[in-house]
């Protein structure tokens, strides 16, 4: 078999011959990124559902739908990346439990079920109402979803509420587990110096939350504009404070990790320095620039008690910057870790393909999908407050 590796990675120094075929492409950058958005969005909904933080009530149900829309597409980059995607179910049939990856289908599957149930309880009253209001195919779908029960008595709604709260409580460790698990997936690879860190799960989890809050802010502002309804200042300020707190912790932990690494100067540190100055230089600038910039902007917004257009504009900028900063962070970890040779004597340089099933176009397509699905779901089940009356259904 004669092989021609079109996109063999160029390198400097010495790398093992097989390393020039970089195993995990840009698809695996987008995978933890999408997972992280789910975790972040879910945490916001839990702040209301579990902790009763009422300032998040306007976005709580929307956050749930956002989480599930992105969750549907978490396996997509993985399936695109597999050499034999048709065998993906082997990992479900015979999960090898010493492998973090074997847990993926179970953790993700459990989490999807949890999200669907939580959404079902949160929206059941709406579904029952719609099953009565709609006729034809739409009506039949709503009736199917209501499981043939139109019981919306206060007693049964109270039971629903208890179930929803219980699910939300389970959901917090599940979301944390889901993303901590993704961090573990990388952090447990002792062969990769740049990944093999005990802090990796916690860094992944916290950065997931900040990216998810960023996404939620951007989507909430966009939906409000579209609905011609002013975004809730209370909700935005709540999101600003939450984002600020999580971001501060992320920056501290990431900073401390780098500090320790450079202070200890273990074998191979000069190659790590060359990695940061070289292949992932722009990624590092984006990651740290965005994070520190957003932290500063949020501080100003919070201290000045910003309101109205200033708050909306400031939060939109923060949300977008946060999403860019975290995608850069994912790149720096996933790609950077593979650009640092296992020989610790060399650096590879990864250039993503444009076309092809592991190319940038595939990534753009996968990343667009959850937005489309979210749009479809919100047309089907409006997450906005019932009190607004006319907005119950499209």
């Amino acid at each position: 078999m004669i092989g021609t590796l079109a996109n063999a990675a160029p390198y400097v120094g010495y790398v093992y011959p097989n390393e020039t075929d970089i195993p995990w492409s840009v698809l695996i950058v987008i995978y933890p990124y999408i997972t992280g958005l789910v975790a972040g969005a879910f945490i916001v909904s839990s702040l209301y559902h579990v902790f009763g933080m009422n300032q998040f009530k306007p976005v709580a149900r929307f956050a749930l739908l956002t989480a599930v829309s992105f969750m549907f597409f978490v396996p997509m980059p993985l399936l695109f990346h597999l050499g034999n995607p048709q065998r993906a179910f082997n990992a479900v049939l015979t999960p090898h439990w010493t492998s973090a990856m074997s847990a993926f289908s179970y953790v993700a599957g459990f989490y999807v079920c949890l999200l669907l149930l939580e959404i079902w309880f949160a929206f059941r009253a709406d579904i029952v109402a719609l099953s009565k209001a709609k006729s034809g195919l739409q009506g039949r779908i709503y009736r199917l979803l209501s499981l043939g029960s139109d019981d919306v008595s206060p007693a049964s709604l109270a039971i629903d509420h208890r179930f929803a709260t219980a699910l939300a409580i389970i959901g917090i460790p599940a979301a944390g587990g889901l993303h901590g698990y993704v961090g573990f997936l990388f952090g447990s690879v002792k062969a990769r110096e740049w990944w093999s860190s005990d802090l990796m799960p916690i860094i992944f989890l916290l950065s997931a939350i900040v990216s998810g809050i960023g996404l939620l802010v951007v989507l909430y502002v966009a939906y409000s504009k579209k609905r011609k309804v002013p975004a809730s200042e209370q909700a935005l300020m709540g999101l600003a404070k939450t984002l600020w707190a999580f971001l501060l912790v992320v920056l501290l932990i990431e900073g401390l990790e780098l500090l320790e690494m450079f202070y200890k100067r273990l074998e191979g540190i000069d190659t790590v320095e060359r990695l940061i100055e070289g292949p992932i230089r722009y990624g590092m600038v984006l990651q740290w620039g965005c994070s520190i910039g957003v932290l500063g902007l949020l501080t100003v917004l919070i201290v000045s008690k910003a309101r109205g257009r200033t708050l909306v504009a400031g939060m939109t900028v923060s949300g977008i910057a946060m999403m860019i900063g975290v995608v850069a962070m994912r790149w720096n970890v996933v790609i950077g870790g593979q650009e640092l040779s296992k020989t610790s004597k060399g650096l590879l340089i990864y250039y993503p393909e444009i076309l092809g099933h592991e190319g940038l176009l595939a990534v753009a397509f996968i990343f667009l999908c959850p937005f489309v699905v979210l749009w479809l779901i919100t047309r089907f089940l409006s997450p906005w407050e019932v009190e607004a009356g006319k907005e119950v259904s499209p």
Partner: protein, 354 residues
């Protein structure tokens, strides 16, 4: 419990049961037999056919080459050297079965004769013959920092020009036994001249043969002449005339004769000029030892310039056939065709021997 909760629980239970059932149904039967993997895969992997099949397989047909190799430095287990057949020739694979060669050996001989079999080097024939240029040998023998000192290495630029290695070395038996090659002789030419009378009948009084079948001796290297006489006397080289003549010579006689003839002046022998120019083109290999114009720098090896055409031709053919043997010439002569020999003989006969 409200109706919708009950129904939801039934739904969840049905899905879970279906999942467990599907898992049991789709899991391979040999899975978990020896551990967390498909047990049958072990025997499947072990069942692949080897492509490298070892020396014994080669030996069954190529006995002559095997015998040469077996006693050569390429097979020296005591020194940890094992240059087995497939190291140079590559994996035997299915050679020479019907997979590698669509026709059987007999069929190919029937169709095109032996020549067709021997000259068919196409990949489809499953031929394992190796390139005759340097690329093969230098993989191990190019002098290179990093190679252990015990490894035989040659500096490519200064070793034998850029000639193919097998010009001198038989790859199956690469060692050239230089102790068997002639050494320069020290004799007395004056004493030799008196002895030379018995040679004159055939080789002429001054070493120029009366019959082109016999070699000219004038100006030949003394070391070569001495070694030749010694070989005739010892019987390692035979000739109906020379074996008898040499038998009556003492060691001193041979030294003196060699000294005498080596000092005599030589003459150019006329040869076919057209053939000679073709011969010159084929002489690069010979030039390594015998000099560019047939006068070698090494006194142990014969000058060829001015030698008789018939003698040169006969000598090369006897090397080629094996009736005369020499560590280098035997393998060199095998690379020559009849035409090559005629051309080379014409070239050296007409070359200036001064």
């Amino acid at each position: 419990m409200p109706k919708h909760i009950v129904r939801l629980m039934i739904l969840v239970a049905v899905v879970a049961a279906a999942a467990v059932g599907a898992k049991a149904y789709f899991t391979d039967k040999s899975y978990y037999r020896y551990g967390h993997y498909r047990g049958d895969s072990v025997a499947e992997i072990a069942g692949d056919s080897p492509r490298f099949r070892g020396n014994a397989y080669c030996k069954s047909c190529h006995q002559k080459q095997y015998a040469a190799w077996e006693s050569s430095p390429h097979n020296n287990p005591a020194a940890g050297k094992h240059v087995r057949c497939e190291v140079c020739h590559g994996p035997v694979g299915q050679h020479p079965s019907s997979v590698a060669t669509p026709l059987s050996f007999d069929e190919r001989i029937a169709l095109g004769g032996h020549a067709a079999v021997l000259t068919d080097k196409s990949a489809a024939s499953g031929s394992l013959s190796q390139p005759k240029d340097r690329t093969q040998c230098i993989q191990c023998h190019e002098a290179m920092p990093g190679r252990p000192a015990a490894q035989r290495q040659v500096a490519l630029a200064s070793h034998s020009g850029m000639a193919a290695c097998n010009s001198c070395h038989d790859p199956h038996e690469p060692k050239i036994n230089f102790s068997e090659l002639p050494r320069p002789a020290q004799g007395n030419p004056v004493l030799g001249k008196t002895l030379a009378a018995q040679c004159a009948a055939c080789h002429g009084p001054d070493g120029h043969s009366v019959n082109p079948e016999w070699p000219n001796l004038a100006s030949q290297h003394a070391g070569y002449l001495l070694k030749s006489l010694q070989a005739f006397k010892a019987g390692t080289r035979t000739n109906e005339m020379m074996s008898g003549m040499a038998a009556g010579l003492s060691d001193a006689d041979m030294e003196n004769l060699s000294a005498y003839f080596s000092k005599e002046g030589c003459k150019r022998v006329a040869g076919d000029q057209a053939l000679a120019s073709l011969g010159k083109a084929r002489s690069a290999t010979c030039a390594l030892c015998h000099g560019a114009a047939g006068v070698g720098g090494n006194p142990s090896w014969p000058n060829l310039a001015g030698q008789n055409v018939s003698y040169l031709t006969a000598s090369l053919k006897s090397f080629r056939s094996g009736s005369r043997s020499h560590p280098v010439m035997t393998s060199v002569a095998k690379t020559l065709s009849d035409d090559d020999i005629d051309r080379l003989a014409a070239f050296y006969a007409s070359a200036n021997c001064k």
